[in-house]
Amino acid sequence: MADEALFLLLHNEMVAGLYRAAEQGEGENGRCTTKLESMGFRVGQGLIERFTKDTARFKDELDIMKFICKDFWTTVFKKQIDNLRTNHQGIYVLQDNKFRLLTQMSAGKQYLEHAPKYLAFTCGLIRGGLSNLGIKSIVTAEVSSMPACKSFLEYSVI
């Protein structure tokens, strides 16, 4: 879909622009990730509101996680999460074997050190979406081999 290309390019430019500005300024890498994450948070909040306008109330947290993995992920990234695991004590691991924002970058270990920059926005997106569904969470992500990526979600009900 044409929209996907636009969002992908915008996201890449955002990351590049923020890091470029940081290099010229004080040069603090951590701040850029925080900025991207907070942008994703805001977008996630707004998006989930519009998305769940007409859906039924969720039964429990697992239902919400399944919604995130199927409907939400499909709408945003055109595919479902490949693997969802939980320890039933508040930790969820979402695995996407072909993360849309990383597929164009490499297929292996090349550019692995740059991958976290491109995950920050999506982590914020998930955290924002969950926050507006009443779940306070901490979302982190890791990439061991492009373009597969794992998100770790630790949640607690607000």
Binding site: F7, L9, M39, G46, L47, R50, D54, T74, F121
Partner: protein, 180 residues
């Protein structure tokens, strides 16, 4: 639970909303980072340029249009094909110079400002959609058409419509002669 009808269209709408919301978050972040409106505008333009030089490949691949023979054909292509494809709107085109190299795209409906009510008071000279100017400029440059693209009117600043002005500068063909 069966899917309600029209879900595909809804998904398409949400996709577009994702882009619009992300753009809004980006502008908000830039406003926090830079104090002056001109800096934000320049930053948006530069980002748009970076997007445009890549978007043109995507556009040409998807639309398979033939080579445009004139500036006016090019502008029509931008308005009727590109805008429709990426933003879902079709601006109207008007030529504003006798020489035939200045055009305006008039947007009645600008999807980028769907969620924006008004610019904050201290940001009165912010060109909220400056990204679009950069995108058009970058895309045109990749097909060897140098152009200046600016906002002539902006609904967010109180004008009736949003108008983007494209001024085609001389083609880069003269450079080829120098090489020989």
């Amino acid at each position: 639970m069966s899917r309600p009808p029209g879900r595909k269209q809804e998904n398409h709408k949400i996709s577009r909303e994702l882009f619009v919301l992300t753009y809004g978050a980006l502008v908000a972040q830039l406003c926090k980072d830079y104090e002056k409106d001109e800096d934000v505008n320049t930053c948006l333009d530069r980002m748009g340029y970076g997007i445009g030089v890549r978007l043109i490949d995507d556009f040409l691949a998807r639309s398979a249009v033939k080579k445009c023979r004139s500036y006016s054909e090019t502008t029509d292509m931008i308005a009727q094909v590109a805008f429709k494809m990426y933003l879902g709107v079709t601006p109207s085109v008007s030529c504003s110079s006798a020489a035939g190299n200045e055009f305006s795209l008039i947007l009645d409906k600008n999807p980028l400002v769907d969620f924006v009510e008004e610019l904050p008071a201290e940001r009165s000279s912010l060109c909220y959609c400056n990204l679009l100017c950069g995108v058009i400029r970058g895309a045109l440059e990749m097909v060897h058409l140098a152009a200046e693209v600016t906002f002539l009117q902006d609904r967010l600043k109180g004008d009736a419509v949003t108008e983007i002005g494209i001024t085609f500068l001389r083609k880069a063909e003269d450079r080829k002669h120098k090489r020989n």
